[in-house]
Every structure is written in C-alpha cells, then in structure tokens.
Amino acid sequence: MGLMKWERTGPLDSLTHIQKEMSDLLDILSSTPPMEGYASMEFPPIIVSANEEHVFVRAELPGIKIADLDIQVVDDVLTIKGERKSVAVTAKATYLRRERNYGTFARSIMLPEKVDIETVSASYKNGVLLVKLPKAAEAKPKQVVIQKA
C-alpha cells in the first residue's frame, strides 16, 4: 500500500467505509459459483444421449472388472452398481501419491424415454461403460398420415 494523504475525517466517514465493506461482502456471498450444468457429481459420472432408435448411457469407470458390475433396468430407471477394487499391492509397497479412489458405488438414473427392457445391451471398452437401450415402440416418432376429407 502506497502513502496516502492524511485527511481530516468526520465521525461518519468510517461508518460509510464499513457500509461499503459489508455490501461488498454480501455481493460475494450472494453470487453463486458457476455450476456449469453439473447437477451432481456422483460416481460414476455419466453422459446420456439419444438418437431416434436408442438411448445411450455412457459412464467413465476405469479399471473395473465386468464381474464386479451390476446393471439393472426397472421401468425407466437404470441402476449401475459395482465395486472398484484397489490393485492388490504387496505388503512391502508404500504409496507415494494417491489420487484415484476405490470402493463400492450405486447410482440410479431416470431415463429420458420409455425403453424396451428385454433388449438392453451393455459393453465395456477402455474403461468406458456403454449401455444401449432401445426405445420402446410407443416412444419412437410416428408418422401421422393426413387424410383428405
């Protein structure tokens, strides 16, 4: 802070100063941090997309055995359950850095459309799970034929 010219101040000057500080503080507190469209950050993070025929759910699940995954569809709710097991490290190993995390997880998501439960398929490649859910017949777009009266 540089040198400031000393000015004779009245008793109310410091009060205005406090008032300004308080309103600045309120401004900071009331402005919500940007969410960038993330509704929640549950594990695993998912992307839901759709084309005319299918609904696709992708999830980033690196390093999981297929046997440790359990995927279920009930009505229009998809449930992904599983466990991310930590690598069996020998007793002599010491961790120098640990950023990845492990454990059990379960999450259910509401699908945007009705799906045909019988023909749901899932694949797992390079750590990304892809669940392909064919849309139910009533959810697919239908052409309406206009009849001439």
């Binding site: 950050m41 594990f43 759709a50 699940l61 490290v89 190993a93 990845r100 492990y102 750590g127």
Partner: protein
C-alpha cells in the same frame, strides 16, 4: 470391522500449459497413484476411453510425458441429453530421477487404466550389509 469406501468424482482439470496442444479437443489432467516396492515404482493413471493405439509415452531427458487421445466418433448421430463429464484427451508428465533404470520401463493399458512400472536402478535398491566378524 471393515469400513466400505465409496469412490468420489471430481471435475476434470484442464492440463497445465506445459503440454503440447495439437489437434482438436481439450486436454485433461488424469488422476494417478504412485507406489513404491523394493524393486520398482508403479504409476497408475486413469484414462477412460484411451486404448493401446492412441497412447504415447515419451522419455525426454528427465521427463516422462504421457499423452492419451480419446476419439469422439461414436457421437455422430446422437444428441446429448445429459452430461456430467467432459470428454477429452489426457496429458500428464512426471520428472524422474537417476534412481530409475530407464531402459526397462514397462507400460500397459487395460480397461482405461495405464500402468507404468519403473524399475529402480541397481545402485538405489535396498541391500543388506553383512557384518563381518574379525
């Protein structure tokens, strides 16, 4: 009693400016674990979406540079309804010391997890010192 852990998710961080950015897409900073055993160091890096063909690992001077690229071709005719993570390439680098035997670094990627095994050089491996009796 065993307590169950639950994995958490953090928003992907953009890789620091040190990476060489080429082509399209963002570059992210992947999470990694490093552990040490008497014979080697192991680095595990989460790179979901990266296969054997789109990963490059370079050792330049003291720096181990890891780049993994993700293809987004599958999304051509799909409309994204809900999105929780960013798809992008991965970049991370580590500075390694003389304690690593550079000729014998091994890498493999499976299920989106890259594992790098860096064997220790002979001169830093633990050894037992015999006590001689006179």
């Amino acid at each position: 009693m065993e307590t169950k852990e639950h994995p958490t998710v953090e928003k992907k961080k953009i890789a620091s400016d040190k990476c060489v950015v080429t082509g399209k897409g963002e570059w992210y900073f992947p999470l990694s674990d490093i552990y040490e055993t008497p014979d080697n160091f192991t680095i595990l890096i989460d790179m979901p979406g990266v296969g054997t063909d789109n990963i490059s690992i370079d050792l330049r001077d003291n720096e181990l540079v890891i780049n993994g690229e993700v293809s987004q071709e599958a999304y051509t005719d799909e409309k994204v309804v809900y999105n929780e993570y960013n798809i992008g390439h991965y970049h991370r680098h580590f500075v390694i010391s003389d304690a690593i035997n550079r000729d014998k670094i091994e890498a493999k990627i499976s299920d989106g997890v890259l594992s790098l095994v860096l064997p220790k050089a002979e001169h830093v491996k633990p050894r037992k010192i015999e006590v001689k009796t006179e």
